[in-house]
Each structure stands twice: as structure tokens, then as C-alpha cells.
């Protein structure tokens, strides 16, 4: 009785191991079904999703104009204090005072990519960009000013 149990156990053990090894052998002779990609080598054909949340950017058009009105909705929506909007008053040629942004300071090191600022923005001035390689040697470089130097607000955006 004991011998019979022992032999069935050995048989089951060997057969289950062979079954597993057959699967491994199948992939050994079918290397095309293996999906591993080597990251730094595949940069050229890296297909990142268009919605991938990597960092907040402010798109500018060819005239160096953005659509940010400086309403601070993003600053209020942010849970971590990542965004700071510095505003100034622009004086138009007619002598009218108008609020505009001086700098939209974005601190990447605090950002959790929760997307709440993008949802809160009423004029679609900021959006998420699929850039994920953020490593720098100095952490002060992670504090960015999103509006380009010399940029101004697009005509007709209130």
C-alpha cells in the first residue's frame, strides 16, 4: 500500500513537472510570442498613450500666445500646492488695466499627476504631456515656469 502511494506520488510529480516544462519549452522555440521589450533601446518606436499623465505643460501657438487668464482655478484645485499662479496687471494702450499671468510656477517634484488642475481649467490652457523621463541632477530644475518668456494671452480669451 505504501509502495503504491509512493509510486503514484512520484508519477504525478514527474508528469506535472514535465507539463510545466513543456510550456516553458514551447516559449523557448517560439521567441516571437515573448513580449519583453528592452526599454532604452526601444525609445524610437515607444508608443505612449496620448492621455498618459507625465507632466503639466502649457501649449503655445506659433505667435507665442497661450490661453491662460490667470484665474487660479488650477491652483485651488491642486491638492498638493504644486501650481502657483503669479499675476500682474497689464495696462493696454487705452489705459485699461487687465489681469494677466506673470508666471505659472509648476513644481514637478510635488505633482502626483492627478489631473484635477486640467479638469478645473476653464480655458484649456494647460494639459498633460506624455513625457516620463524627468530625472535631473539638481532638484531646483524640477521647478518650472510653464509660460514661455515674452508670451502673452491670445486675443478674445476672457
Amino acid at each position: 500500500m505504501f509502495l503504491k502511494e509512493y509510486i503514484t506520488e512520484v508519477y504525478n510529480g514527474v508528469s506535472s513537472l514535465l507539463k510545466g516544462m513543456r510550456k516553458t519549452g514551447y516559449y523557448f522555440v517560439h521567441p516571437k510570442e515573448i513580449i519583453t521589450e528592452q526599454y532604452p533601446d526601444n525609445r524610437a518606436h515607444l508608443n505612449l498613450a496620448e492621455r498618459f499623465k507625465g507632466e503639466v505643460i502649457m501649449p503655445h501657438d506659433e505667435n507665442n500666445e497661450h490661453t491662460c487668464t490667470g484665474c487660479t482655478a488650477c491652483e485651488l484645485a491642486c491638492p498638493n500646492g504644486t501650481i502657483k499662479v503669479v499675476t500682474k496687471f497689464e495696462v493696454s494702450p487705452e489705459g485699461k488695466k487687465k489681469k494677466a499671468i506673470d508666471a505659472l510656477v509648476y513644481r514637478l517634484e510635488l505633482c502626483t499627476m492627478c489631473n484635477l488642475c486640467i479638469v478645473a481649467c476653464p480655458s484649456d490652457a494647460i494639459k498633460m504631456a506624455p513625457n516620463f523621463e524627468h530625472s535631473v541632477f539638481d532638484r531646483t530644475k524640477l521647478t518650472k515656469v510653464l509660460n514661455h518668456p515674452g508670451s502673452k494671452i491670445k486675443e478674445g480669451i476672457e
Binding site: 510529480g13 506535472s16 510545466g20 498613450a49 491638492p79
Partner: protein, 378 residues
């Protein structure tokens, strides 16, 4: 320099005669995070296990008190990061329940599909990591192959692979990606074809079976008294699926089975999770062709204010019951918030399950508990 008799004297001072205290963790490959177990041994037999928590405590509950009802949802992704979508859903359900916000049908169906995808992804990762704890390295790659398809679907639609934050009170943050249905169908097809590989590689493997069968037995009474939920309790025969008992969203309109087992050992917990993945696939198949048209987010006020009172909602995450309890004073932020996380209660049963077994079996017991340490510490 110590001589041998001095060393023996030192160790015997730590406990009673013949006892040995070893520290497992906080940096241990099998604890999947910074869990510190103080294990008292008699030879190789476990006499006592004392989990030491707090290595990754971030005071999330206190942090949530300073965040508004829109902002506090994203923090819960950082608790049980493998089922972050379901955590977010629980918090959004609480705000919707408290403020009586109508959620469009489209948003409800999409939330359920994504929840089930999250559950499969979590169980896949658990399957690979648990097999790796027991010394089988290959299943890790097979499990991650299918999980990768889910993370790609999440990346397309939600914009992130792990901490999605796709849910807002009242619906979803933005609409589905146009390729969503096509990709989910491709995933379902591949998953059904490849799930037999897990049977060949892991379930029928004689080494895996002899290491898990009869190890870490938890009876139904103990599962209830320790407050275990999820697959851990269901493997002991306790019916506790929140999706069945208190259906939320559209779970009352889809047909699925609650997987139960009575053995209560590590192998039963393994089988419950593998069968649950098939049930999740069944739910997705029912819903994927029937996503209703319409808005993806309901009408909400700009500033959310919960009325004065106490609110509690619960959802079924991949690990068990996740509960959110909020005391509101009527302001824009919660007065007090408490999360009931499944991992904490499941960990409390570990001492009871492992006492008397060998230290090698502790890996199997702990692996099938499916512990996520940030979920325990918060």
C-alpha cells in the same frame, strides 16, 4: 570576541528556554513591502508572530481632513495601489450618496468594467508574486504578460497605469478611449486562451500543491471573529461579497457567482482567486457590448459640501471590503475620515493561522493573504 557558550547565553535571554526570536522584515523579499514580523520560533516551529506596523505610515486619514471632497479621492489610490480604481470608486460613492448626486448609466457601467479589470490585474500580480514566494519564478512572467494588457488599457483610457484617479464625484473624469472596447475584447480573448497555462504551470504542479494544501488553515468562525473579508474569508466558507450583499452601481444587473470554498487552507485561497478572475471576465463580457450612450459625468455643483452627519459606504476590492466613513460638519472638507482597509483585518489573522506550522510554510500563508503594506499602514 564571543565564544560559543556566550552566544548561546545571549539568545536564550531573548525568550524562554529553547526559543529563538527572528525578525522577518522590514526589508524582506517575501513581505512585499516594509512589513516587520517578529517571529518566535521553537526549532523550526512557529510559536508566535507579532506584526510591527508603521514603517510606511503616511497619515492619509488625517491628510484627507484638509482636502476637499474632490481632492481626497486621489489619495486613496496610494493606499491599496493594486486596486486603486476600486478605492476611488468607494470614495466617490460616498460623496454621491451624501449629496444625492445622480450618476449617468454610462458612467456606472464603465466604472464596473474598470473595477473588474483592476481586480483581474491585482489577482494576476498576486498570482505571480505568490508563486515567486514559493520558489517558482516563471509564473511571474506569464501573469505579468496578461496584466500588461490591462495596464495598457488603463493607460489609454485613464492616463496612468497604477494610480488612475479616473473617477470624480458624479461620474468619470473624461470619456472612454475610442479603442477601449476593441482592446478589452482582445484581452478577454487572450485571457481565456492563456488561463490554462496557469493550471499547467501552477495549479497542477505537485510541489505547489504539497506546499499549500493544509497550510495556514483558517476556520469560518475565526474568519468572522478576526473580521477577514474578501477571498481570505470566502476560502473558509464565509459569504461576504459586497457585490452580492450590498450591490452598488450595476452589480445587481449582471449575473456572476460568488466563489466559495470550505477548506480554508492556502490552496483554497489560491483557487478562490483564480476562479474569481474567471467571474470578472464573465462580468466584463456581459457589459462590454452594452455600454449605454449619454453623458459620462452628471451635473454637480462647483463646490461640494456634504450635509452634516455621518456617512459610510463599502465596496469590494480585490482584497475584501473597503469601507469609507466620513463625519461631516457641513463644510467643504471632512471633519473626520476613517478607512476600513481589508489588509489590516486579514493580517490580524496571521498569528492564528501560522502558529504551530513550520517557518517555511509562513511564506505560503502570507502569500495567500495577499498583503499590500500601504493598505495596512495608511
Amino acid at each position: 570576541m564571543y565564544n560559543q557558550t556566550e552566544i548561546l547565553k545571549d539568545t536564550s535571554e531573548l525568550g524562554a528556554e529553547g526559543e529563538l526570536v527572528i525578525n522577518m522584515g522590514p526589508q524582506h523579499p517575501a513581505t512585499h513591502g516594509v512589513l516587520h514580523l517578529v517571529v518566535t520560533l521553537n526549532g523550526e516551529t512557529i510559536k508566535k508572530i507579532e506584526p510591527h506596523l508603521g514603517y510606511i505610515h503616511r497619515s492619509i486619514e488625517k491628510m484627507c481632513e484638509s482636502l476637499t471632497y474632490r481632492q481626497f479621492i486621489y489619495v486613496t489610490s496610494r493606499m491599496d495601489y493594486l486596486s486603486s480604481h476600486i478605492n476611488n470608486l468607494g470614495c466617490a460613492l460616498l460623496v454621491e450618496k451624501g449629496m444625492q448626486i445622480e450618476v449617468p448609466d454610462r458612467a456606472k457601467v464603465i466604472r464596473v468594467i474598470l473595477s473588474e479589470l483592476t481586480r483581474i490585474a491585482s489577482h494576476e500580480l498576486w498570482l505571480g508574486a505568490m508563486a515567486m514566494d514559493l520558489g517558482a519564478f516563471t509564473p511571474f512572467f506569464y501573469a505579468f504578460r496578461e496584466r500588461e494588457m490591462i495596464t495598457e488599457i488603463m493607460e489609454d483610457t485613464c492616463g496612468a497605469r497604477l494610480t488612475m484617479n479616473y473617477i470624480v464625484p458624479g461620474g468619470l473624469m473624461y470619456d472612454l478611449h475610442p479603442d477601449f472596447q476593441k482592446k478589452v475584447k482582445a484581452f478577454v480573448k487572450q485571457f481565456k486562451a492563456k488561463v490554462t497555462e496557469y493550471e499547467d504551470l501552477v495549479t497542477n504542479n505537485i510541489i505547489f500543491q504539497s506546499r499549500t494544501k493544509g497550510v495556514g488553515i483558517l476556520s469560518a468562525e475565526d474568519a468572522i471573529s478576526f473580521g477577514c473579508t474578501g477571498p481570505v474569508a470566502r476560502a473558509s466558507g464565509v459569504s461576504c461579497d459586497i457585490r452580492k450583499i450590498y450591490p452598488y452601481e450595476v452589480y445587481d444587473k449582471v449575473s456572476f457567482n460568488e466563489i466559495l470554498d470550505t477548506a480554508g487552507d492556502s490552496f483554497a485561497r489560491y483557487m478562490v482567486r483564480v476562479k474569481e478572475m474567471n467571474e470578472s471576465i464573465h462580468i466584463i463580457e456581459q457589459l462590454i457590448d452594452n455600454i449605454p450612450d449619454g453623458d459620462f459625468v452628471g451635473k454637480t455643483k462647483n463646490v461640494l459640501k456634504l450635509p452634516k452627519g455621518e456617512f459610510y459606504t463599502r465596496v469590494e476590492t480585490a482584497r475584501g471590503e473597503f469601507g469609507v466613513f466620513v463625519v461631516s460638519e457641513g463644510g467643504t472638507t471632512p471633519h473626520r475620515i476613517k478607512f476600513r482597509s481589508p489588509g489590516f483585518s486579514n493580517l490580524s489573522a496571521l498569528n492564528h493561522m501560522a502558529v504551530g506550522s513550520k517557518i517555511g510554510d509562513l511564506m505560503a500563508t502570507m502569500g495567500t493573504l495577499d498583503l499590500v503594506i500601504p493598505d495596512i499602514d495608511r
